[in-house]
Symmetry: C2
């Protein structure tokens, strides 16, 4: 299991970004305006998430649209279920 994945998940801002992307795909700016920190800082977080393959991007004119890469989340779930008891899903 890739180290960058868990490190990416370790930051609350990044987890919040992921949750925002659960609702719908968003541009970098739309994401950034949800946080009290500088745009450049959010951009850094987006880079970390992308490096961990948790999100993917697509340019759309001037904008860059971010979306979740759900495949990787399935890998995370699989990691936990296979290693730490497969009963975690019974009443999820």
């Amino acid at each position: 299991m890739d180290d960058s994945l868990f490190r990416a998940l370790a930051d609350p801002t990044r987890r919040k970004i992921l949750e925002l992307l659960t609702e719908k795909d968003r541009t970098a700016g739309e994401i950034a305006e949800q946080f009290p920190i500088a745009f450049a800082s959010v951009s850094h977080h987006l880079g970390v998430l992308k490096a961990a393959d948790l999100v993917a991007t697509e340019r759309e004119g001037q904008f860059i649209r971010y979306r979740l890469n759900t495949t990787v989340f399935q890998e995370v779930v699989r990691y936990f279920m296979t290693r730490f008891g497969g009963e975690g899903d019974k009443n999820a």
Copy 2:
């Protein structure tokens, strides 16, 4: 979802400790000797895991025995499944 949980999982040594505890409960010393770092450093990691409630301890004479707290792992799985697509288990 608690921040300490994901931060605890972000370190590869700590994840390895958790995997060791999957096999069987172990004392701090048994865990520490599996790693090339100082005992005190492993002890620090154990403290982080315990603070995140990922492991529990029980004193056994001179020894302190560590075991997984599987409940918390189920919470992690639930976190991912509810937020990021519940299909992650289909072929786990």
